[in-house]
């Protein structure tokens, strides 16, 4: 797949935030303990009229800005919060960016790594010549039950990547490899509103095992060492796991800090590692290498190696930075109103 790459990219995070301290206050928990324990200061909250489809469209528009959408022949949207149980989000994205009807489309589900699975499929179709260009999206409006640990971090965001020939790419795809197993660390049964998590499984045997193995396998296949990379991006369910995984693989703070957004936006699930990649692409210089590893419960990790090209200097800012700085804070009462509205749907 080294003949393909990222021709365009875009991220979107809603402007509303709630601080973890504010949630802790309502549940009678120690705000310092919660904030420091998770490494999350605040999380993003979708507005009442935002969902996975609307955020996917915003990210997709940014990724395809100035591009000929009729060249997109495949769209895959990865999420665990698609607005419909049956009716693909990818059709809505395709219509909104003007890529329909000459395209194939599907929605993906694999907890928080459905978006990176979409990138692998899209890159494969471009590499094989089946599609001229493909669009891969990872997006989620995540929910945690009130008072559950997940409520402190479950957030909203989307990231989109336009995949095309390496010659057009702002970052070439050097390689990808995955590590997958049947692990019951986190699940949600059909028709249930909130997910369940197997406490014993969430850390070591799930996130770390898959992230580390996928990452090490990729470095091995490409015969690379961590110091060959300018940036390293990880799935970020909180502010702590990605830092620990980075150190275990041999990466330093200098390499992971630019792609670590969870302390300021929370866990955006399918968008988490991908928004980190967007933030890194906004900073990258030609020839910089970027290491990315996603993680999805159930469980699996997809690892990627990208290398920025000269074209990275021609692309404008993705506007993600504006989304991260131009924010409005909610108190818990306003936040609960937003949540209630989302739950009705």
């Amino acid at each position: 797949m080294d003949d393909t790459g990222i021709a365009g990219y875009g991220g979107y995070v809603p402007s509303l935030r709630i601080e973890t301290r504010e949630i802790a206050r309502i549940w009678g928990e120690d705000p310092d303990e919660i904030e420091n324990g998770l490494g999350v200061r605040q999380k993003s909250v979708p507005d009442l009229d935002e969902d996975t489809a609307t955020m996917s469209v915003e990210a997709a528009r940014r990724a395809t800005d100035g591009e000929d959408s009729s060249r997109i022949e495949a769209i895959y949207v990865g999420s665990e919060s698609h607005p419909y149980a049956v009716k693909p989000t990818a059709t809505i994205v395709g219509a909104a960016i003007g890529a329909t009807p000459g395209m194939t489309a599907a929605d993906y589900e694999f907890a928080c790594k459905a978006g990176t699975a979409a990138i692998q499929t899209g890159a494969g179709l471009v590499s094989s010549g089946v599609a001229d260009r493909a669009l891969a999206v990872g997006a989620d409006v995540s929910q945690g039950a009130p008072g559950d640990a997940l409520e402190y971090s479950a957030a909203a965001g989307a990231a989109a990547f336009l995949l095309g020939d390496a010659d057009d790419a702002v970052a070439k795809l050097e390689g990808t490899t995955s590590y997958t197993s049947d692990t019951p660390d986190f699940w949600r049964r059909e028709g249930e509103r909130y997910p369940q998590h197997g406490e014993r499984f969430t850390g070591k045997p799930a996130y770390f095992k898959h992230t580390i193995n996928a990452g090490q396998n990729l470095l091995g296949e490409l015969d690379r060492a961590p110091e060959d990379y300018s940036y390293a991006v990880f799935h970020q369910p909180n502010g702590k796991f990605p830092v620990k995984a980075a150190h275990q693989l041999g990466f330093t703070e200098e390499q992971y800090e630019a792609g670590l957004l969870s302390p300021e936006i929370g866990n955006t699930y399918s968008a988490a590692s991908l928004l980190g990649l967007v933030a890194v692409l906004d900073e990258a210089e030609p020839d910089d290498r970027i290491f990315v590893t996603s993680f999805g419960s159930g469980a699996g990790s997809d690892a990627f190696s990208f290398r920025a090209t000269e074209k990275i200097e021609e692309t404008g800012d993705s506007k993600l930075r504006d989304d991260l700085t131009d924010v409005e804070h909610l108190d818990y009462a306003m936040y609960a109103r937003h949540k209630d509205k989302i739950q009705e749907e």
């Binding site: 507005d47 009442l48 009229d49 935002e50 969902d51 489809a53 609307t54 469209v57 915003e58 528009r61 607005p83 419909y84 809505i92 219509a95 909104a96 960016i97 003007g98 409005e328 109103r337 509205k341 009705e344 749907e345």
Partner: protein, 131 residues
């Protein structure tokens, strides 16, 4: 929007999703909603489809405190007349809490309503402030 019904909504999906209007090259006028016949040039008009760039300026606005039932839970919200950069004026919801006449805005993609909890979801453009 529940009363509108799915077929009518989907006939106008290009307008609602992508702000697609028309432009008469003869007199340099952009129309939104799109018009297939230019009322100025009539038969001399050279009308083609044009996707609008979605940016404009707030001409006037009103705050709606008692919305129709499908907007319940969303009130109060602002409804504005926006003059698009290409010229046409559209009436649309503003997603920001605070808005002023003269504010520059851009189109964003949001939920407009739905056909009940088990019906279709209507998506389309609203505007957000760039200031």
């Amino acid at each position: 929007m529940t009363e509108m019904g799915a077929p009518r909504f989907w006939r106008n999906i290009q307008q609602r999703y992508r702000l697609t209007g028309t432009r008469c090259d003869t007199c340099d006028t952009t129309y939104f909603p799109p018009r297939q016949l230019c009322p100025e040039c009539r038969r001399e008009g050279d009308v083609e489809e044009q996707e609008l760039n979605g940016t404009g300026t707030v001409v006037t606005y009103t705050t709606v405190h008692e919305p129709s039932p499908e907007y319940e839970g969303d009130s109060p919200y602002s409804l504005a007349i926006v003059e698009l950069d290409e010229g046409p004026r559209v009436t649309a919801q503003i997603v920001d809490d605070e808005i002023q006449v003269g504010d520059e805005v851009e189109a964003c993609f949001r939920r407009m309503g739905e056909g009940g909890g088990d019906g279709v979801i209507y998506y389309g453009f609203k505007f957000r402030s760039l200031d």
